[in-house]
Symmetry: C2
Subunit: 874 residues, 2 copies
């Protein structure tokens, strides 16, 4: 077994990352491409595992290291432990999975009292050479010998004070020499003998220390939290030191191969002449642009700039992605120190992927896999201008992305009134319910005290594309006009700005960057549509939302929530009359009054959809959600409907439930008030008849919520069929429709074979299904979720990403049993997970036909569906 590999030998390995670690494999990769990498070699993770076992470095390993070290010296014309032109190396940890900052690294190994003069000559600056040695002692004393770093730091500090020097870089040679003496004494006192001056001892000590750092408590804890195996071990990269701080032809810098903000194809980055890498990023000096201005690298060292550009192109071709580079120029010689995939903005991400296809760097399929679907959602929304810095007055969960500014209102009514006056408002509520929907619609953004990222406020706001912050628990609503967060008091009318991307809220009006969708996004999504198997529909019911959804590429409506059609004031009043009616006759007439209103809503929808399928869900929420809750609103309702207030309150109270989620809602409403679903069916069929008469096709899918048994399905089918037969006869039209249900209770999933006997389609309601499988209300989850997240008691937040093990298992079973009964059963999903990319991968694998999500998530769903298909076929 080989324990040590040269950078140039990595092509011999099947899985270089596993053996050489991430960083090592990357350097080896560059070296294999013939790029100028400071030469070096890598001790494999297996060497670490061996060390673990034996608790010492084996002779085999040592002899391999020595052989490579000699070869390395020869390559550079330097030699380890040689007084003149000595070879110095770095000894770096690097595991195959990223564990940033968890393990150790030593620099300038090889620097000893004996090699110091030669190094000083090489640098041409003896003060800098002394500082390097001082740092080496400090690093070695702490990392290898286990002394506390504080004792070194304290000595340094007193030296600075004693010499009235403000920065350690400015210590004179004299002072450095005396500090080095102090350090050497510290080490001797601790060891009981002087520090070896043999750099080979330093090398073995460094290697052992790095291997040991794999099992440091913080590294172990990190791995436990991240679920990384303890047996992997770390590799060690030993690499010749290079120096960007030698002369005017020396420099260090960082570069992106394309502009990470815009995606433009140009070298983008900064560098500093006569500096080491850490100086560029430390912020103590102001670096210069690579290609802009008189001090740019392009101007001062045009050949090196072109060389760097060429290397960038080679690396992009090799890694098939935009790269983030680190380099050092040592006396005019360019050395590449690192390359990795570059982070980029959402906008740049799409542009780079598409342009790389045009440049033949990528196939369309490859390009699609490079784009993060979440980025597409973000692209649609305004966001806070990243150049502005301000501090938030409160922070909650990022409920719905985007940014908005407005004056505070505390009730949905005030939001509606303000909108009517043309004012932008932010609706602040303890939490929201169906009664607030018109207020959310009227507001520019929503801020709630309670609730999680899938609470009512977040779901509704996301659906409407409004920024929303939920669960800002530090916020107290003191009255109907005042809120407080700590010492901050804000009144109705005060201006605030929400950042729905971060969950932070600010006082005042902060500037925003407006979204601009480039043409690249359409190109990418056209490719996506060719690859994906899953259909993508939207959850929408208003004309405006449906238009938006179609514009963004939705193939139909997967969830039309008919209750949302009752929230305009006229329908709401009729609906409330229905709820509060005392006799069957009163109820019947209130329901009849709703019919024409529903019918008009449906007509509007069918016309816009123009033959595209629409899944219409019958009324779902419990009736009490349609009644107001505040004393004043109840009084007003009593006046309007001419009901004694006491009676209204009594009725209101009798509708209250202990657990409304598990109460009198969904198809249970049809069991108690069959006329309600009948009316909805009739409105749908009348509207379809009217629209078909205009020559527009209507593709109807009627869906029942909260099904538990096949008996419920049959019972409601009979109600619908009666209406259907009547209206076909009455209008003389053929009105085809399919019939199906939400699968959102565990029982429906478990008995999907029975239920499929009366169903043409299923649509998984994964919000409710998750709530029921977990016994967990998404609205009550926020206060204890942080504890769960911290202790990792759930695999992940099940309301954000579908729980494949539990909920997913049930979905698999339901799909299988349902299709056993009815092989042609169409199956979709219309919960919040329908817009979540990782969940979409699951739905693809589960064999679903389509996903349906908020209009604003349609773009990312199209992309994620394509990625799922591409990855499954890999």
């Amino acid at each position: 077994m080989t324990y040590v590999y040269d950078f140039t030998e990595s092509h011999r390995l099947e899985n270089p990352t596993l053996l050489l670690g991430n960083k090592g494999a990357n350097l080896a990769g560059m070296a294999s491409l013939g790029l100028p990498v400071p030469p070096g070699f890598i001790l494999t993770t297996q060497a670490c595992q061996e060390y673990e076992k034996n608790q010492k470095l084996s002779d085999t390993l040592k002899s391999e290291v020595l052989a490579h070290l000699e070869k390395l010296g020869k390559q550079l014309g330097r030699s380890f432990n040689q007084a003149e032109n000595p070879l110095l190396v770095s000894v770096r940890s690097g595991a195959s999975v990223s564990m940033p900052g968890m393990m150790e690294t030593l620099l300038n190994v090889g620097l000893t009292p004996d090699t110091l003069p030669g190094f000083s000559d090489f640098l041409g600056q003896s003060q800098a050479a002394l500082d390097c040695y001082r740092r080496f002692l400090q690093m070695y004393g702490h990392i290898v010998l286990g002394l506390s770093s504080e004792i070194f730091q304290n000595q340094l500090q007193s030296k600075l004070e004693q010499t009235k020097t403000s920065h350690e870089k400015d210590l004179s040679e004299e002072h450095l020499k005396s500090l080095i003496l102090v350090y050497e004494n510290l080490i001797q006192t601790s060891l009981g003998l002087p520090l070896s001056t043999n750099p080979y001892d330093h090398l073995w000590g460094s290697i052992e220390a790095v291997f040991k750092s794999w099992n440091s408590p913080r590294a172990k804890t990190y791995r436990q939290l991240q679920g990384i195996s303890d047996t992997l071990g770390t590799a060690i990269t030993i690499q010749a030191m290079v120096f960007g701080n030698l002369d005017k032809k020396s420099a260090s810098g960082v570069a992106f191969t394309r502009n990470p903000s815009t995606g433009e194809k140009e070298l983008f980055g900064e560098y500093l002449v006569k500096a080491q890498g850490e100086d560029v990023v430390a912020g103590t000096h102001t670096p210069d642009s690579l290609n802009d201005g008189p001090k740019s690298l392009a101007t001062l060292m045009p050949d090196t700039y072109q060389h760097l550009q060429k290397i960038g192109g080679l690396l992009e071709k090799h890694y098939k992605d935009m790269q983030d580079l680190e380099f050092t120029i040592e006396k005019g010689h360019l050395w590449m120190l690192q390359t990795r995939t570059g982070k980029r903005s959402a906008k740049a991400s799409v542009r780079i992927a598409v342009e790389m296809v045009e440049e033949k760097l990528l196939t369309p399929a490859e390009a699609l896999l490079k784009i993060n679907p979440d980025d597409l959602e973000r692209l649609l929304l305004p966001c806070l201008d990243s150049n502005v810095s301000a501090s938030a007055f409160v922070e909650g969960f990022a409920g719905a992305p985007g940014a908005a500014t407005g004056s505070i209102v505390f009730t949905a009514e005030d939001a509606v009134n303000a909108q009517a006056e043309g004012k932008a408002v932010i609706l602040v509520r303890p939490e929201t319910n169906a009664d607030d929907v018109h207020g959310i619609w009227a507001a520019a953004g929503v801020l709630t005290q309670r609730g999680g990222t899938t609470s009512h406020a977040a779901v509704v706001a996301r659906g409407m594309g409004k920024p929303c912050i939920v669960g800002a628990s530090a916020l107290e609503i003191l009255s109907e006009t005042t809120l407080r967060v700590g010492s901050v008091l804000l009144q109705e009318g005060n201006i605030i700005t929400l950042d729905g991307n971060t969950g932070k809220a600010y006082e005042g009006d902060l500037p925003k960057a407006q979204p601009h969708l480039g043409s690249e996004i359409n190109t990418a999504l056209k490719w996506a549509d060719q690859y994906r198997h899953l259909g993508v529909r939207a959850n929408a019911e208003t004309r405006q939302d449906v238009l938006k959804a179609l514009e963004l590429g939705a193939e139909g409506i997967g969830l039309c929530r008919t209750e949302h059609m009752f929230f305009d004031p006229k329908s709401l009043r009729a609906f409330q009359q229905m709820i509060l009616s005392k006799t069957p006759k009163e109820r019947r007439s209130a329901i009849e009054a709703l019919l024409p209103l529903q019918k008009e809503s449906f007509k509007d929808l069918f016309e816009v959809l123009d033959a595209k399928p629409v899944t219409i869900r019958f009324l779902d929420p419990p009736l009490h959600e349609f009644l107001p809750t505040s004393e004043s609103d109840l009084a007003e309702l009593a006046r309007t409907l001419d009901i004694p207030l006491a009676e209204l309150k009594q009725r209101h109270k009798s509708l209250q439930e202990l657990n409304p989620m598990l109460g009198h809602r969904g198809c249970r409403l049809a069991a108690t008030i069959p006329a309600l679903y009948e009316m909805q069916a009739r409105a749908i069929f009348y509207a379809a008849a009217d629209v078909q008469k205009k020559g527009i096709k209507v593709n109807l899918e009627l869906m029942v919520p909260l099904i538990v048994t096949s008996q419920e399905m049959s019972y409601i089918k009979t109600l619908i069929d009666t209406a259907h037969t009547d209206i076909e006869k009455e209008t003389g039209m053929t009105l085809p429709y399919t019939y199906g249900c939400m699968i959102e209770t565990p029982r429906a999933a478990l008995r999907s074979d029975d239920i499929a006997q009366t169903a043409d389609f299923f649509s998984f309601g994964t919000n409710d299904l998750t709530q029921l499988v977990y016994g967990l209300s998404r609205d009550d989850f926020a206060p204890f979720w942080p504890h769960y997240a911290e202790k990792e008691l759930f695999p992940k937040n099940p309301f954000m990403h579908l729980d494949e093990q539990g909920v997913g298992d049930l979905i698999h079973k339901a799909v299988k049993k349902g299709r056993t009964t009815s092989p042609t059963l169409k199956i979709g999903i219309c919960g919040e997970h329908g817009g979540d990319p990782t969940s979409i991968h699951f739905f693809h694998k589960a064999g679903l036909d389509y996903v349906s999500c908020s209009p604003y998530r349609v773009l990312s769903a199209r992309l994620a569906a394509a990625q799922a298909a591409l990855m499954a076929s890999k």
Copy 2:
């Protein structure tokens, strides 16, 4: 194929009931035993199916009927269509499944103008013979010819008015003759020709009419509702008419072979001399006892009485059960008309079963299958004296059985105070929660406005053996001292009586019958214990309940709800302090204050249990259940704990949840306040150590509620293990325990393989599991359950009887997966279904180890478990 069977031929058939119908098979059975049954024969259900197909009676069938009819006449020395001593028959429907009153029957077929004089001679009463003929015409006209029964009824009515006769029996021969003429004319007008005087025509008509009645709309609807197949068809029994109204040596009567109230072995029944069967049950005459008094059958016709007694014995031996007999004595000759299993009281049921074993009529196993487990539960409770009649002022659901009387109180506190004064009270609440438990304990019974049979009030009351009525929705609580039901106003202090067996509540104090458990019940349950495989434990935590459970035969405690230990005033105050504490230190000290209280409760329990296993569930309910809700209670709490009221209210509000069932409860409390479960674990181990020091073994099973993931299980195991190690070290005792969890979320059931890795046992919490599988809150179910029951949208009430198809499917899966991981996994159930006999059958089949139920259901559970084992081994 044979279409017609003599009564005596039924032994040739493998499944007589299927071919001959229930009633026919029964008569044939008696005839085969050689008992005196009026001779007859049966047209099979296949004959009906044939008729269905061809819509006419086949010649084969007709010739078989004629042959049997002739044989029948010969047996009796009479003949059909013969002027002298004519043979009359009944033509009765009778399917293989009971469809009471759904199909037709004709009597006195064979009576025509030609046979009427001969029949009149036979009867010796020409008026009675005329009346028989009039009835025949009316019956035939309606059933066979399809005339409305009203037109006959109207004619009869006007004849009665016209002749100023009060009852049809008293019409003179003259008037009857003229009425018969009117009837004949009605029929002739409708038919267009006179009614045939050939009785064979009547016979065929009657047979066709009975066959047709199988498909009458009401019969079809009935079958649809009962899930009976339409293809079965009805059999027809044709039997010679016998007459109990001929002379003093003629009579009709009914008899039970044993006393149906007490179970005593004696002929028990009534009879009437010179009467037909319908007269005995009609209530128009007062019948005499069979064996009591000077007019008894035993006195007047001792031979016949002895004959009847002997027949009863034969039938009991044959059917292996107590029989309910109908008989007629015609001129001193005893004819048996019917035998069937007799209904009996709970008490009689047990006595009869046990005595029949002593009499060698039954084996113990057979006897056990004759007892209804629900009867045993009822036997333990007082019930309303059945001799008293009163009308209820309100009716709800039967929440918990038994009867109780007391004065009305409206709060738990008032109940406690009244009990302290030695007063019996009935607690009336809108609904109850954990805060009311001490009030339920103090009250004699509970009446709630809301909730179903498994609501908090019902479950708690059932557990305590207190009668309870829930969901009395007509009840309005007007204030803290007044309730109203319609026009009835009741005040605090008014006396009411609850009947928890029927769900009815009465004003005033109604007399009760006290329970008396005979020795037979112990005999039966000892047999049961030998046959059952399932263990039976009880859900209990107070000393009193545990003693009761052990007395009734519980083998341990399957559910000790530790939260119930927090409801004494001292613990409650400490618990409230814990909830409201503002700093971790305050919280820690409040929790520490609870430790000694918990420890004492556990010591008490362990001593009583004396080595029997006890499954202790860690705290389950949400914290807000421990805070009061009324304004005045909150104010008092604020004073006691010295907290500003506004702050208390704010905290109280912040603990409110939209769906507390799905909220911050169960093991989620351990994620946020680990010290709480830690304290409980420590209290348990300290108590166990103390008790073990006294030489009493403790069999500990620690159980975690509301588990969703295996990570939760591991996390809490670590908390417990730390306490365990500490306390074993501190006390020097070995404190063995096993660790397990409730399986009450669908996810835990689906992932039981993972969870079993850290569990020694599972206990299904079928209440919550049902709620989650159905997405249905048992507390909010009551208002719409009647609609569900009426429309049969659920297979049955899933909170009463385990839903095998849905919840049961999940249980099967969980058992299988759990035992795959851990073959020795112990599995029980501690939901309400643990005491339900039909559910117990399921648990037996599912391979569970034990059921745990309320103490008062332990007896019936022991029996049901034995029945399940016996039926499964059949």
